[in-house]
């Protein structure tokens, strides 16, 4: 790869990416620590939006728009429906965290320390010059339909199976054979 410039003179793209990453990590922290269930879903929207911005900075435009469409549009809406249908308490609730919260914090901090140390040690000299166009819809489309056709079709079957499974699970008048 190319020679890496110094860390002390970040480019504009790196500054933008770091700001977006800070937003994503901060809102993710709020997702797992907030005391209101609906706010967790809304902070998830902020986190996914910041990640989509990060994909844009990394020149992956198509992935960024798919992220906005599917994650922000579909998945968060589904999660909000789930919150509504399970009659979750709206407003502050004290018991969203279980009793093993300290153990979870210890495990998470240990995971973060190990991963960040390994990643910094491994990729300290790696540098990826950003060139636009690599992640456009045209490039990705030709790549999917030339080289990735079989996984693509398998995924469509998977989506169909998940759809039928969700319908069977959520309807109450379908019963197993006794």
């Amino acid at each position: 790869m190319t020679e890496a410039p110094s860390y002390l003179s970040p480019t504009g793209q790196e500054i933008v990416f770091l700001l977006l990453g800070a937003v994503a990590v901060g809102s993710a922290l709020l997702v797992v620590t907030t005391r209101q269930l609906v706010h967790a879903a809304l902070w998830l929207v902020v986190c996914f939006g910041a990640l989509a911005g990060g994909y844009l900075v990394l020149t992956a435009e198509f992935v960024a728009w798919v992220q906005v469409l599917i994650y922000v549009g579909a998945i968060v809406a589904l999660l909000l429906f789930g919150i509504m249908l399970t009659r979750a308490p709206i407003g502050r609730t004290a018991d969203l965290d279980s009793r093993n919260r300290p153990a979870a914090a210890v495990v998470a901090v240990a995971t973060a320390v190990v991963l960040v140390t390994v990643v910094i040690d491994g990729f300290r000299t790696a540098y990826a010059p950003l060139e636009p166009g690599g992640g456009s819809a045209k490039e990705l489309g030709s790549s999917i339909f030339r080289n990735w056709v079989l996984p693509f079709e398998a995924l469509s079957v998977l989506l169909l199976a998940a759809l039928i499974g969700a319908i069977v699970l959520s309807r109450t008048d379908i019963r197993g054979r006794d």
């Binding site: 990453g21 797992v32 198509f62 589904l78 979750a88 973060a112 991963l115 990729f123």
Partner: protein, 152 residues
């Protein structure tokens, strides 16, 4: 762009997701944390695709696949959670302890709401005390008796 920056952001997102999965009680919040972990993986895939200049665009195509699988997973997960809520009137992970042996202090309170099969629309709060299934209709009791006979 140094590859360290997206890699560190995704490592932090992943460990935040681990914390959420382990520490939250509400099942929907656990699903949200799983989504955070999947997004960490996606960020890694995109960053490495840009770094390695894959001619097949493997990283970004796999990111799209992961997004699709996450959508399927959330749909199925929410269907399961709704079925759970319909049967037990709770989505609290700490109270779903059917696979564990009943402890000495709990008098089967964690087991009972399952035995009376609640069908159809919601019937209000689940019976929580011991012998809660017995307060159901006689048909429910006989059904649960035959069912336990089958499983034993």
């Amino acid at each position: 762009m140094h590859v360290v920056y997206p890699a560190v952001v995704s490592a932090l997102l992943f460990s935040i997701g681990v914390y959420g999965v382990l520490a939250r009680r509400n099942t929907i919040l656990v699903l949200m944390s799983v989504e955070l972990m999947l997004n960490a993986v996606n960020l890694n895939l995109v960053a490495f695709d840009v770094w390695l200049r894959d001619r097949l665009h493997g990283g970004q195509v796999l990111t799209l696949f992961v997004i699709v699988i996450a959508a399927a997973e959330v749909g199925l997960g929410l269907a399961i959670i709704l079925a759970l809520y319909r049967n037990r009137q709770t989505v609290d992970l700490d109270r779903l302890r059917d696979l564990a042996e009943p402890t000495g202090t709990g008098d089967g309170a964690a087991r009972d709401p399952v035995r009376g099969p609640l069908r159809g629309p919601l019937r209000g709060p689940a019976p929580t005390g011991s012998g809660g299934a017995l307060t159901d209709s006689g048909q429910a009791v006989s059904e649960s008796a035959t069912r336990s006979g089958e499983t034993s």
